[in-house]
């Protein structure tokens, strides 16, 4: 997030798109509700009538995957009505003239049939956001898990730049990170393009720096993404280590994913449970769990906080960092002689410019948000206050593009996937609470009652749902949360492996899968559900 969580109580116009915040980031959502109680106006765009949509002042039930069309049309209206922040554009941005030209054809009337919402509502959304003094944008995977994920984010960037909603309290472009330490994993260098602290691997200065620090030379080019590595499994990639990820359930196109892992000569999995993925491994290493592990994590607002062990590890479980270090030593590598988690964290701080002012002691109270370039620095709750790191903010010329697959006679429904309040990810953790299982006993496909009627299926009946890649069977739930023609389910239950169906395409830049859109066919399952 560009702005701190605290800022969520300050905007006067809130624009949420592709985020089911009350279920996926519930505590953050309470701040938005308080902002609304203090008079803020909320605009929500989402294919599902989620709780946020219910409390919004204006709700746009856009068709899945049409986000860019909506955002272009909103920018069009803001430009046409002169609601832009001229001073900000002149002082802090680049490329506005070309952008303004680019916007010309993208009227609300153009977008309305694509998004399947009235042009007048698009117009209203644009006017509300354009007139905001403090306008803040919040989004999640509903924006990024598309083949156009990068373009979608850039469209949001354009909106914020043209209205000057950047670098001030109660504004900003704010992605909500889904997993507790997904931010930290990237910060720590577990990405193919960057060394720790987002230092690009293609920059020779960084390569030289890490050669000095780590004592070996590194390739000057970006590595493979996980998606590419899985594609190359059995051909180029023959050995893999996977830490704490249930890849075969969480990843798209699960059949392909399983085949890829099976094609490896050697698979090592570290986890706390024998997940579906661990069952495919040659070596399974028991990691300590949350509650048993000392360490640090970094939240969605870039706040570095301490994790503390409260109970001893079960059995012989050991911390992930220790396991990785032991493998390294046995592979003959030097530089892994850490005594404890604080050693590892302090080394990370020493090599990362954004954590450079931090150390184990300093993060004890979770007071700092990165960048913290040097000791004594107060941290950076709000990014871009005085300028952008890369000079000026760039307007990006994005065009609307259809999803990789669109509905047709054979696959007439849009399936979109996500999470639910009481389950998390592949449910390996939440699903082990009996209490949670009691309130969420099984996965159900959410379908609009009109669609059910057309299909001749009743609430609670079993259906078979099929995409070009696979099929699953599950019960349906009649709900007006889904718009007609769009159905929803989560990937929490391994007996409804919905990711057998997904994976129609990937964003060409990030390799993020189009998990939010997948055309499917739905039929009554006469045989019922397997027991």
């Amino acid at each position: 997030m560009s702005n701190p969580l605290e800022d969520m109580e300050l905007p006067d116009v809130i624009f949420c798109i592709g985020t089911n915040m009350t279920e996926c980031h519930p505590v953050a959502a309470t701040r938005l509700k308080r902002a609304m109680a203090n008079g803020a106006v909320m605009v929500v765009a989402d294919p599902r009538r989620i709780r946020l949509a219910e409390i919004a002042d204006l709700y746009l039930p856009i068709r899945v995957g049409s986000d860019a069309a909506l955002l272009l049309a909103m920018a069009h209206v803001i430009e046409r009505e002169g609601l832009v922040d001229e001073a900000f554009i002149a002082g802090r941005t680049e490329g506005y003239e070309a952008f303004r030209e680019h916007l010309r054809p993208f009227s609300p009337e153009w977008a309305a049939p694509i998004c399947q919402v009235p042009a007048a509502d698009i117009e209203r959304a644009a006017l509300l956001f354009g007139r905001a003094d403090k306008g803040a944008i919040y989004y999640t995977l509903g924006i990024t898990e598309h083949i156009t994920g990068v373009g979608n984010v850039q469209c949001l960037g354009n909106l914020a730049l043209m209205t000057g909603n950047v670098g001030r309290p109660g504004t900003g472009i704010n992605p909500m990170r889904g997993q507790n330490n997904i931010q930290g994993a990237g910060d720590s260098g577990a990405i193919p393009a960057n060394y720790p602290g987002f230092q690009p691997v293609v920059d020779p200065k960084n390569a030289a720096k890490f050669e000095r620090l780590y004592g070996r030379s590194f390739d000057p080019e970006v590595g493979l993404t996980k998606v590419k590595a899985l594609e190359l499994a059995g051909r180029q990639i023959h050995a893999m280590i996977i830490d704490g990820e249930n890849t075969v359930v969480s990843d798209p196109d699960a059949h392909h994913c399983r085949r890829a892992l099976e094609a490896l000569d050697h698979l090592v999995v570290m986890d706390i449970f024998l997940t579906e993925t661990a069952q495919l491994a040659d070596v399974v290493l028991p990691a300590t769990s949350w509650g048993e592990t000392d360490g640090t994590c970094t939240n969605t607002e870039r706040r570095v906080q301490r994790l503390r062990a409260a109970v001893p590890p079960v059995g012989e479980a050991r911390p992930d960092w220790w396991i990785a270090a032991e493998i390294a030593k046995r592979a003959g590598l030097a530089g892994f002689d850490w005594k404890d988690a604080s050693d590892v964290f302090n080394e990370l701080c020493s090599v990362s410019p954004i954590y450079h002012g931090l150390d184990w002691e300093r993060v004890a109270e979770g007071r700092y948000q990165w960048p913290v370039p040097e000791k004594g620095h107060p941290g950076t709750p709000r990014l871009h206050e005085d300028g952008f790191v890369n000079g000026r903010g760039q307007f990006k010329l994005i065009a609307y593009q259809d999803p990789a697959e669109v509905v047709d006679d054979e696959y007439p429904f849009w399936l979109t996937t996500g999470r639910r309040l009481t389950s998390y990810h592949t449910h390996t953790q939440t699903g082990r609470s009996e209490a949670i299982r009691e309130v969420l006993p099984e996965e159900r496909l959410e379908v609009h009652p009109e669609d059910l009627q057309r299909l001749g299926v009743k609430d609670g009946d079993a259906v078979r749902m099929t995409s070009r890649r696979g099929d699953v069977t599950l019960r349906v739930k009649a709900t007006e949360r889904s718009r007609p023609g769009t159905v929803f389910c989560s990937f929490a239950f391994s007996n409804v492996p919905v990711n057998l169906l997904t994976g129609s395409g990937y964003d060409p830049i990030t390799d993020t899968a189009e998990l939010k859109v997948c055309p499917v066919r739905i039929e009554r399952e006469e045989a019922g559900l397997p027991a």
Partner: protein, 357 residues
């Protein structure tokens, strides 16, 4: 006359902020005025009048939690009159309550009323009579106990749900002795807009609301200890205090001073912690044997095998044949160690994490 924001508290001058209440300024100065319906995260309510103080020039004692300080105000927090009044009020409250000790485990504030009774030397039973409130044993949701026999109608639960959560799942029915806290229109929580965030439980000062998950461990005799950490689920990063009894993780409490959550939690962070000590946890390393089965192994054996597979792959297929995936759920140290391992092994940037799926 001073020109600064100063008033007098129990004979001493004290600075105050504009708009500050007597209760808050006293608390800041270390004077704990008794209270029952006060929760620092909620708007002042003025319902229980336990916080009464004497203000010079005003005949009747005033509720300090709702009275804003004005310059040169003279306040006494412990006159015989207010002390008598507090005792009488508390006796009345207690008289409508069954004489029953509940475990402090029930919630963060569960023993607030009992502690206050001890502090003021008030015993139950002076007005002994019928109890107010009616328990909802039929609300069999697995998270929140609704033991309204103990309810004193302080409305903290109703207010936290409305003011902090914005869910408005709880309401109030009736008045006076017949006051009853309800969910939606007198239904079970599961049929209301309740999200089981547990905030009502944590603010209840009597144990009328209880955390059913932690209550499973009430019979463990070890004294509860707490450890500050961060919720393992979403990226908000809420601070929590883990409650342990001996080696057993028995519950989770929200941390009121957590920078990201300021005391708030959701159902996952509050209640979904059983996975930690679940029987399904992996307890030893496993390696695949000749027959293709995963079988328990020593750490030495498993680590050697893990490392050998990687180095053999490099020997056979070249350095760009090994790949690592770090976790978005493990700590920074895990991700850092994983990226260093993979980069050092291959010299390539063959490392990613699970954010792309």
């Amino acid at each position: 006359m001073t020109t600064e924001n100063v008033f007098e508290l129990d004979g001493r001058p004290l600075r105050f902020e504009d708009g500050e209440t007597i209760f808050e300024a006293a608390r800041r100065a270390g004077t704990a005025i008794p209270s029952l319906c006060y929760d620092p995260r909620l708007n002042a309510f003025g319902g229980c009048r336990m916080c009464v103080v004497q203000v010079e020039g005003i005949a009747k004692p005033v509720a300090s939690c709702t009275t804003k300080i004005t310059r040169d105000m003279v306040v006494k927090t412990t006159t015989p009159k207010v002390e008598r009044l507090r005792k009488t009020l508390l006796e009345m409250v207690l008289s409508e309550n069954p004489d029953r000790q509940v475990s402090a485990d029930r919630g963060l504030a569960a023993s607030e009323m009992n502690d206050l009774a001890q502090r003021l030397g008030v015993r139950r039973g002076r007005f002994a009579g019928a109890t107010s409130g009616k328990s909802r044993p039929e609300d069999d949701n697995p998270f929140i106990l609704r033991d309204y026999d103990l309810c004193i109608s302080c409305y903290r639960c109703v207010r936290v749900c409305a003011e902090r959560e914005g869910d408005y799942a709880l309401g109030v029915k009736g008045r006076g002795f017949a006051t009853q806290i309800t969910a939606g229109f007198d239904r079970a929580l599961g049929d209301s807009t309740c999200t089981y965030c547990g905030q009502c439980v944590q603010t209840c000062p009597t144990g009328a609301l209880g955390d059913k998950q932690i209550m499973r461990f009430e019979s463990l005799s070890a004294a509860p200890e707490t450890t500050r950490t961060i919720c393992p689920y979403c990226g908000v990063g809420c601070s929590v205090d883990l409650v342990t009894k001996g080696d057993r993780l028995v519950g989770v409490r929200p941390a009121m001073d957590g920078p990201a959550n300021k005391g708030a939690l959701c159902v996952k962070g509050q209640f979904a912690y059983d996975f930690v000590q679940h029987a399904d946890r992996l307890k030893t390393p496993l390696v695949r044997n000749e027959a293709g089965e995963l079988t328990p192994a020593s750490w030495d054996e498993a680590l050697d095998r893990a490392a050998r597979g990687l180095t053999e792959s490099i020997a056979k297929h070249g350095r760009k044949s090994v790949y690592g995936v770090a976790s978005g759920r493990a700590p920074n140290e895990a991700a850092y160690a994983m990226q260093k391992l993979m980069r050092m092994l291959s010299g390539a940037h063959y490392i990613d994490n699970c954010s792309r799926a």
